[in-house]
């Protein structure tokens, strides 16, 4: 029977929520923004070890030159994103954690001089060489999670990966960066995809795109049809339902398999890569180009929402200035989407590798009421959890009970809080619970 009919009858439970799409920049072609006169580059733009500065004040740097790196395997080097002079090595507030993070400030010489790039044909490269090129290019997951890509592409030998899932879901409202990239750079994405398939010796791939992006679906299909020899790559239109783009949700939708609790998609033979990451992999491996810029959607309460290619370290204010008149009632700037994005303390916050969107917003503070046990949070949880129980436990300080309700499974997507009639900030309670558990050393 038709799935929708089953849902209406309540015979099939559909998790997630349906926030308004508000993708106002969807028809705006990607534009290169003018280069900034100054960039602020935090040394941690990824999950893992913080990079250490490899330049000092006064050094001349070229675009693509490594300015910070780390010995740790789970880390990614940081490159200069404009040419010029290292003006200062300082500490700024991280746009991700809100904690102090070391940063390098470069002042532009206006020349945009690049280091010499070393192009290569991926088919002549060994897997090791490809991974090294990806690592040296500083590539991290660009969907927002910023996990170093070379680590993700090197699964332990006992894990057999049979399917690659390309994440073009872009389920957060407002964001259109990946949508536009698929429309305009489909070939780059597919070239990157083929490199990843080569590295992993995977022959099967699915490109997952939410069904509210029919043009992107069509464009990707067309690009695939032109491949010769044809590859076992299909475009799958997935339901537009938040959080479709979360790795585990995507794996379930595409493979009809659930990643075991505490595990990774590789435990069911899948690996998920975001479309922008794939394009960056192509640039790194084939062109030898390090990751210095990305597409950023500027949306929300601006008169001209846009998709801009911005060099990392560019202040958000420079992007906003290009997007027409901001509404006077804006009092919040979010990096990322409205569901999981992070509110920034200042318009000077720099764009970093995981910043897919600058969202200008009016804050929506609502008084928290008592839980009325309506169960909407349970119905919307994509991970099959009982979010209200986390709130109960945290309020009572019964942190030890949290694992009984599988708190580690929570991906903090915010679907529960979105749907809560009592305006309970469930994600905040859950984060508190996780932090408290960590302090107590409970896994």
């Amino acid at each position: 029977m038709n799935m929708h009919v089953l849902e209406v009858l309540g015979l099939r439970h559909r998790t997630g929520v349906h926030p308004p799409a508000r993708k106002s920049a969807r028809s705006k072609a990607i534009e290169h923004m003018p280069l900034a006169s100054k960039v602020i580059l935090p040394l941690q733009q990824h999950i893992g070890a913080c990079a250490k500065a490899a330049v000092k004040r006064g050094d001349e740097v070229k675009v693509g030159q490594v300015i910070a790196e780390s010995d740790g395997f789970v880390s990614a080097p940081i490159h200069a994103t404009i040419s010029g002079t290292v003006k200062q090595i300082t500490t700024i507030t991280s746009p991700v954690t809100g904690q102090p993070v070391p940063a390098i400030i470069i002042e532009s010489d206006g020349k945009d001089e690049w280091i010499e790039l070393a192009p290569a044909d991926p088919e002549n490269l060994s897997n090791e060489q490809i991974l090294t090129r990806i690592q040296n290019a500083g590539i991290v997951g660009m969907g927002g999670a910023t996990f170093p890509t070379h680590v993700k592409l090197k699964p332990p030998p006992q894990k057999h990966i049979h399917t690659l899932i390309v994440n073009g879901a872009e389920c957060e409202p407002y964001i259109t960066a990946d949508d536009r990239l698929m429309l305009e750079e489909a070939d780059r994405i597919i070239a990157g995809l083929k490199i990843v398939m080569q590295v992993l010796s995977v022959t099967r791939a699915h490109i997952a795109i939410e069904d509210n992006k029919p043009q992107a679906i069509e464009r990707m299909r067309k690009a695939l049809a032109q491949l010769s020899p044809p590859e076992r790559i299909t475009v799958v239109a997935v339901a537009a339902r938040y959080p479709m783009g979360a790795e585990k949700t995507l794996v379930k939708s595409i493979l009809h398999a659930e990643v075991p609790e505490g595990g990774l998609p590789m435990d069911v033979g899948a690996l998920v890569q975001n479309v922008a990451t794939l394009a960056a992999i192509y640039d790194a491996v084939t062109l030898g180009k390090p990751l210095v810029e990305r597409v950023v959607t500027v949306a929300g309460m601006v008169s001209e929402p846009k998709n801009l290619i911005a060099r990392f370290g560019t202040a958000a204010s420079s992007l906003i200035e290009l997007c027409g008149e901001p509404d006077t009632s804006i009092d919040q700037m979010i990096f990322g989407g409205p569901m999981m994005g992070i509110a920034q303390p200042s318009y000077d916050s720099p764009i970093i590798k995981g910043t897919n969107c600058v969202l200008l917003n009016r804050s929506d503070f609502r008084d928290e009421h008592s839980c009325i046990r309506c169960g909407r949070c349970i119905d919307s949880c994509p991970m099959g959890l009982m979010p209200l129980m986390f709130v109960n436990c945290v309020k009572k300080g019964e942190y030890e009970t949290l694992p009984n309700y599988h708190i580690a499974n929570c991906v903090e997507c915010g679907a529960c809080a979105y749907n809560c009639p009592a305006n309970i900030p469930l994600v905040s309670y859950i984060k508190t619970g996780k932090t408290e558990l960590q302090k107590r050393g409970v896994k």
């Binding site: 009092d331 318009y347 929506d364 008592s370 839980c371 046990r373 119905d379 809560c420």
Partner: protein, 318 residues
């Protein structure tokens, strides 16, 4: 920057849906308007006085309780719903002071004493009804037949579930009377049609799940049939419909998971038939729901959704 004022830092999600407690409650109130209008039509304008008393006392009691507990009073509409529901399950000529007592009990004891909205164990309206039924039994046995004119005093009559009930109607006509509400009974329980429309509103807004009324009414139908009763009569008569759509679906006092709700509904259905057929009371809807309310924490303890990627363990949970 254009706007140099301070930026607001707040945790994600920064976007919220349009659900709110008061929205839920006002939709329920809207859905209850039909049974209320039907009650006025069948039992006269006196019902309006009862409704006014019930709602007013409920809201005032909540206001005073919040004052005493030094908590902000929120006009979230939940007291209005309780007040209306209480009146709808009372006999049509209940003295207003009994309504007032029931209403105060519902809010002060059944709801606020347990911690207010979201913390009460028992459905406040049903707890209020149970309280006045036990306290003023003799005053609450005067059932009247529907009146034709709006202000007329009713003629005493037995309810279909009562012992003295005799009817000259054949089965078809009796079902029709029960369906439309043209029988003696509690204020808002007699017209199945109006309750079904109200229930459809709740379903349409996604406030309730179909599982509760279907399993509740279905259980009553099947079990009364098995026990040699007239199943159609049992689901049309008494307070089953109102209970199934408006009481057993109460968020606070019923299980949170869908499977839990089904267990709750089946349990309540069994209790209704047991009380009606084997018990001494003519009607069992009120007590069936109150008894299942008491079991709700237990159901919630054991019935939980399966987490994504759940790995069953043999280890016993502490």
């Amino acid at each position: 920057m254009h706007n140099v004022s301070k930026l607001v830092l707040s945790p994600a999600p920064h976007l919220r849906g349009n659900a709110s407690i008061s929205r839920d409650m006002y939709i329920v109130t809207l859905a209850l308007l039909l049974p209320c209008a039907g009650a006025v039509y069948f039992f006269g304008l006196y019902v309006l006085l009862m409704l006014a008393t019930g709602v007013l006392c409920a809201v005032l009691t909540e206001y005073v309780a919040k004052l005493m507990r030094r908590q902000p009073f929120l006009m979230d509409g939940s007291a209005i719903v309780t007040g209306i529901l209480l009146v709808l399950v009372m006999p049509p000529r209940t003295p207003l002071w009994i309504i007032a007592v029931g209403s105060v009990f519902s809010i002060a004891i059944a709801k606020e004493a347990f911690g207010g909205l979201g913390h009460n164990i028992f459905n406040p309206a049903l707890a209020g009804r149970a309280f006045v039924t036990l306290s003023f039994a003799s005053a609450l046995t005067r059932w009247i037949a529907p009146v034709s004119s709006f202000m007329a005093d009713g003629v005493t009559a037995a309810t279909p579930l009562g012992e003295g009930f005799v009817t000259t109607l054949n089965n078809g006509a009796l079902y029709k009377a029960l369906f439309l509400g043209n029988v003696a009974g509690s204020v808002g329980e007699t017209s199945v049609l109006l309750i079904l429309i109200g229930g459809a509103i709740l379903l349409a807004f996604g406030l309730i799940k179909w599982h509760v009324p279907v399993f509740y009414i279905g259980t009553v139908f099947l079990l009364s049939w098995i026990m040699g009763q007239d199943p159609l009569f049992h689901i049309l008569a008494g307070g089953l419909m109102l209970g199934a759509f408006f009481m057993a679906t109460d968020y606070v006092t019923s299980p949170i998971t869908t499977r839990g709700k089904i267990i709750f509904a089946v349990g309540a259905g069994i209790l209704v038939v047991v009380i009606r057929v084997l018990g001494t009371m003519p009607e069992g809807v009120c007590y069936s729901i109150l008894l299942m309310n008491a079991v709700t924490p237990l159901i919630d303890r054991y019935v939980r959704p399966k987490p994504y990627g759940y790995i069953p363990t043999t280890r016993k949970e502490a």
